[in-house]
C-alpha cells in the first residue's frame, strides 16, 4: 500500500503541491474573491461524454478561463486540450490525477463530470482544498455521501452547484412559477417518466489500456479488473451508479417535481421493477416504477421502454385541482386550455452543458450567494431517487424520516444508505 493512492489525501496534496508549484500563480497574486468583471479560473475533471460537452461550452464562455482539464485516461485529456486550443486559442494544462488541480492556488473552481461514484469524494476534497465546485448529477450514490458533501461545503464555506441545470432553464422556471402562483390549483399528484434505459449486458475482462489509471478510476469503489463496459458504461453498475436511468434522467426530472411541489422529503416510498426482456447480468434495472408519498401529494416515477406520454419520450407532469401541466425541455402545456395559459415553447437545447447554469455558478462564486442548484437541494433530490432505488432493492414499502435521514424502524433498509469506501479513501 505505498502507491500514491494509499497516501492520505493531504499527504498526497502536499507532495503533489511541490510538483505543481512551478505552474501555479501565487495566491497573493489573485484578488480577494473573484471580482465582478474578472474571469473565474476553472478546471474540468472528467473528459468523457458529459465533461467534453462542458469543456466545449466553457472554452468559449467569456466569464471563465479554462485553466486545466483532467482525466484518468491520458488520451482523453490530451484530446480536450487540443479542442480548447482550437476553440479559444489557449491551451489548458492537463492532468491525470485531479488532486494536482486541487493543489493549484490559481484555480478558483473545479467542475467534476466524473462517474457518479466519485462525485462525493471529488466535491469534499475540492471544498477542503478551498475550491468552489460544480458537480454533475446525481451528486452522490448514497445518502451518507450526500450529507457529507453538504457538511463539507458548509464547513469550508464553498459554493457547490449541482449539474441539475433545468433549474436555470427559463422553461422550467416559468412552469414552476405557474404552479406556485396557483394556476393549477392545489397539486395533488405529480410525476416523471422516461422511455429508455441504455444499460447493456455483461462485461469482458481485459488488460488495462495504456495511459489509463484504472485504480484511480475505481477510487473509493471496490477493486475489480478492468472492463470496457465498466469504464464506458459505469451507469449500468451498482458500484458506480445506483438505479440506471433513475439516477440519470430521474434526478433531473424529479428535481423539478420537488421544486414544483415545494417539498423534497418523501414520507414513504415503494418501487417495483426488473430487467425483464434482457440483461440478466445487469446491475441496474431497465424497468422501474416508483411511488413516493409527500405530504398532500403523491409522486410517481415511471421508467419503461418506448414510454411515450403525449408524444414525449420523457417528461414531468403536475396534476392540480384546477388544471394539469405537462412538460419536457422543449415545451410545456397547460390543460385545459380554458386556463388561458398558452403552450410555451422553450429555447432549443443546444447542449446538456447549459451556459445559463454555468453563469449562475460563476455569479455565485463572485457574490458567495447560494447557487440555483445548491448542493443541499440537489442532495435532497438525489436522495429521493436513491430511496426509490433502495425500495426496489428491499422490495417493500419504506417510511422515511427526513429530519434524521433514516428509514423509520428499519435498520435493514438503513444499511443501504451507506457504502464502505475502499481504503485509503474515506468520507
Amino acid at each position: 500500500m505505498d502507491t500514491p493512492h494509499s497516501l492520505s489525501r493531504r499527504q498526497f496534496l502536499h507532495r503533489a503541491g511541490t510538483l505543481a508549484a512551478a505552474a501555479a500563480t501565487p495566491a497573493a497574486a489573485r484578488a480577494a474573491t473573484v471580482p465582478i468583471n474578472d474571469k473565474v479560473r476553472l478546471a474540468v475533471v472528467g473528459c468523457g461524454g458529459m465533461g467534453s460537452r462542458h469543456i466545449e461550452a466553457l472554452a468559449v464562455n467569456p466569464q471563465c478561463s479554462l485553466a486545466a482539464v483532467c482525466d484518468v485516461a491520458k488520451s482523453r485529456y490530451y484530446d480536450q486540450m487540443d479542442i480548447v486550443e482550437k476553440l479559444n486559442g489557449t491551451r489548458p494544462d492537463g492532468y491525470q490525477d485531479f488532486r494536482h488541480i486541487l493543489d493549484r492556488n490559481d484555480i478558483d473552481a473545479v467542475l467534476f463530470a466524473t462517474p457518479d461514484h466519485w462525485h462525493a469524494l471529488n466535491t469534499i476534497l475540492a471544498c477542503e482544498a478551498g475550491k468552489d465546485v460544480y458537480v454533475e448529477k446525481p451528486v452522490c450514490v448514497t445518502v451518507t455521501e450526500g450529507r457529507a458533501m453538504v457538511a463539507a461545503a458548509r464547513r469550508y464555506g464553498r459554493i457547490v452547484q449541482a449539474g441539475t441545470q433545468q433549474r436555470s432553464m427559463p422553461l422550467f422556471q416559468k412552469a414552476v412559477e405557474l404552479i406556485h402562483n396557483g394556476r393549477l390549483g392545489q397539486i395533488t399528484t405529480a410525476g416523471a417518466w422516461i422511455g429508455v434505459n441504455a444499460c447493456g449486458v455483461g462485461e469482458t475482462i481485459e488488460p488495462v489500456p495504456k495511459g489509463l489509471d484504472w485504480d484511480l478510476w475505481l477510487g473509493p469503489a471496490p477493486w475489480v479488473p478492468f472492463s470496457r463496459e465498466r469504464f464506458g458504461g459505469f451507469r449500468c453498475f451498482y458500484d458506480y451508479a445506483r438505479g440506471g436511468e433513475l439516477a440519470n434522467w430521474g434526478i433531473h426530472l424529479l428535481d423539478i417535481v420537488h421544486w414544483g411541489i415545494r417539498q423534497d422529503r418523501p414520507l414513504a416510498i415503494q418501487s417495483t421493477g426488473g430487467s425483464y426482456p434482457n440483461a440478466a447480468a445487469a446491475d441496474n434495472y431497465e424497468t422501474i416504477e416508483s411511488i413516493m408519498e409527500y405530504p398532500g401529494c403523491t409522486v410517481t416515477w415511471d421508467q419503461r421502454h418506448q414510454n411515450l406520454k403525449e408524444g414525449r419520450g420523457y417528461g414531468i407532469y403536475f396534476n392540480g385541482t384546477e388544471a394539469k401541466i405537462i412538460m419536457d425541455r422543449g415545451s410545456f402545456k397547460v390543460i385545459p386550455e380554458s386556463t388561458g395559459v398558452p403552450e410555451y415553447i422553450g429555447e432549443p437545447e443546444r447542449s446538456w452543458a447549459n451556459p445559463d447554469h454555468h453563469n449562475n455558478f460563476f455569479h455565485c462564486i463572485r457574490t458567495r450567494n447560494r447557487p440555483a442548484a445548491d448542493i443541499e437541494q440537489a442532495f435532497r433530490s438525489t436522495a429521493a431517487i436513491l430511496l426509490a432505488g433502495i425500495a426496489l432493492k428491499v422490495q417493500r414499502k419504506l417510511w422515511w424520516d427526513g429530519d434524521a435521514e433514516r428509514f423509520i424502524n428499519d435498520p435493514e433498509a438503513d444499511r443501504h444508505l451507506h457504502r464502505a469506501y475502499r481504503a485509503p479513501w474515506h468520507l
Binding site: S8, S338, P411
Partner: protein, 688 residues
Amino acid sequence: MHPRRHLLPLALLLAATALAQPATVNLASLIAALQSNTESQRAQARQLLPAYGLDALDATLPLLAHENQHISRAAYHVVEQIANEAGNTPRGADPDRVAARLRAALDNANAASLKQDLLQLLTLVARDPAAIQQIARLLNDPELRERARAALEEIRTQDAALALAKALPAADRPFRIALLDALAQMPYENTRDAILAQTKDKDPALRAAAARALAPHARVQDRHIITHIVETADTASRFDAADAELRYADALAARGGNVALVLDLARHAFAHAADPAQQGAAINTLGRYGDTHTIPEILALLNDANIAELAAPALSAIQAQQGPGAARALCTAWPAVPPPLRPAYLQLLGRRGDPCALPHLQEAAQANDPVLRTAAFAALGNSGQPAALDTLIAAIENADQAEREHLRTALQTLAAHFAAANDRPNAGKAALALYRHAPDETARAAAAETLRRFPIADAADVLMKILRPDELKQLPVAALSGIIAALREANHNKKADELQNLQFQRLDSAAAVQEIIAFAHASGTTDQWRDKLGFIRKWQLLGPFPFPPNTGFQTPPFDPDRPDFNAQYGDGRRWTPIENDALPPIMDLMALTGPRDHVSAFAAATVHSDKPRDAQIRCGSDDAIRIWLNGTLVHNHLIDRGTALDADIVPIKLRPGANRLLVEIGQYAGGWNFVLRLTDPQGRPLNL
C-alpha cells in the same frame, strides 16, 4: 471441499434433468437456463429462480465460479436477490440459513475473487454473532482484510463495529487508519474505548484518524483530547487533525447547546490550521454558529497576507448572519472592512436591501477607486431600493462610456427587481433611464419593451415617439392598457381615447380576451375588467335534473319562456341566485349540487338592450349545452368536453328592453360548468 467441487454435480444433474424435460419450468430447467448461452433465457432464470429460495441458492452458489462471466454474473444476481429477500422481506428464506450457506461457501472458497463476492453477499444477511466473527477473522488475512472491513462497515450493527474496534491493536498502521475511518461512519458507544486508546498512539497520523472517528460522537469531554491531537500534529497530519476538530465542532453544534465551545474550537482550529483553506473553514465555523458579534472578530482575522484566500469563506461566514439585526451589524462593521474586501462586502450589503446600507453604497458610488465605484453600482442595483434608482440615474448622466455600461447593468437589475415586485412607477422610471442612455438600437428596443409593460407619465413623450401606428396595431392588446393609463396621467387624453378605441376594436377573439384576462391577473386590475369583456356573471341556477347518458337533454320541467323563480321542484330544489366575481366567471355547477354524473342544471339571466341589435352568444361548457333566448331554443350542442372560452358562437337578435336567457348544462362525468358572454357580430364585447 471447494464449493464448485461440492455442488457442481448437483447443478449438472439438475441441468441434465431439465434438458430431458424442456417443457416444464422448474428449478432444474431454470438452473439450466441460467447456464445457457442465450441472454433471454438467463434473464428469465434470474427473474424466477429466487422464488425457489434455499433450493435455488444451493444450486446457484456453485455457478458463482463459472468460467463464463455472463453466467457467473447472472448467478451472482440470483444469489444476491435470494440473500436480499432473506435479509429484507418476510417472504424471503430464513436469513440465518442463507447466511450459513454463504459462510460455508466462504469457508470452502479458494479464489480470492469468489471470496470477495461471498463477503459482499454476506453483508445482506449476516446478523448473528457467529457470522460477524467469521468475517472479523478475515481482518487478519492480508488478501481479504480490506473486503472484510468494508463488509463489516456495511453490516453496520454494533457487533460489526465492535469487531472492527477489536481489530485495531493488531492492525498495521495503514489498516488501523482504515479501521478508524470505518468506525467514524458508525459512532457506537461500544467502540469509544478502542478509539480513545488510539488517540494516545505515538503516530500523529493515527491520532488524527482517531480524532476523526471520535468527532461524530460529539462528546464535550473529548474536547481536550482532540485539541491536544491538533496541537501535537506534524506537518503531514495537521490537515486531518484540524479537519477532525472542525467536524467535532459541527457535531457539537448539531447536538445543540455548545455554542461557546464550538466557537472556541473554531478559533483553535484557525490557529492550528494546515493551510488557508482550513483557516477559511474555521472562519466559516465562527460565522455559522456565532451571532453578529463574530462579524468584527472575523474581519479582524483578515490581513494583507491572507486576505486573498480567506476572503471567500469570510464572506460566506458573514453572509450566514441573517435578519434585520445582522444587516445593521454588517453596516456598523463597514469601517473595519479591509480595503481588498470592500468591493465584495458592498455586494453583500446591497443584497441585504436594508436602508442602513444605502449611505455606504452611495458614498462608495462616488469613490475615486473605480473598482469600488463599480462594485457600488452593482450593489445599488441589487439593493432594490427606490433611492438607489435616483443615485444610479444621477450617476449615469455624467458617467464615461466604460462606467456607463456598469450603471446600465445596475439599472437593468433594479428594473427587473421592480418589475418582479410589480412596482410599476419605479420599473417604468428605470426603463426610461435605460432608454435615454441606450448605447445602441438593440438596447433601446429592450428598454422600450420594458416601458411598454410599465408605462409611466414621465415616459408619455417617449411612448408617443416609440410607438408607430402600425406598431400600436401589433402590440399585445394587454400592453395597450398600461400605455393608455400613462397617457391619461400625462393628460394626453385624446391619444388615450384613440388607443382605447383601438384596444376595443381588437378585443374580437377569445385569444385577445384571454390575453386581457392574464394581464388583469398579473397587474391586479381584474376589478377594472370584470364587466368589460361581455361576460354574464349573475345567474339564477336550478338543478340537478336527469341527464341520461343515452338520451341526453330531457323536456325542461318548466316553460323555458317563463321560468317561475319562486317555484320549488321535486325534493326542494329552488332557483338559487349566484354572482361570480372571478375572471373569467366560469360557473361551477358542482358548487350547486356537489360532484354528480348524468345530471343537468339550468341557469337563467336577463340582459337589457337599448335597441334591437344583432349580437352573438359566445360560450364554453363542460359538457353539453343548450340555450333559449326569450323562450326560443337558439343553440343545442350535445357534447362531452371541457370548458374553453368562446367554444360555441351563436348569432342572435336582441330585442329592445329585457331579453331572457336560459341555459341548460348537461353533465356526463368529471367537471361540470360553463362560461358565457355576449358580443357584437364582430366578436367585440357587448356589455349590457
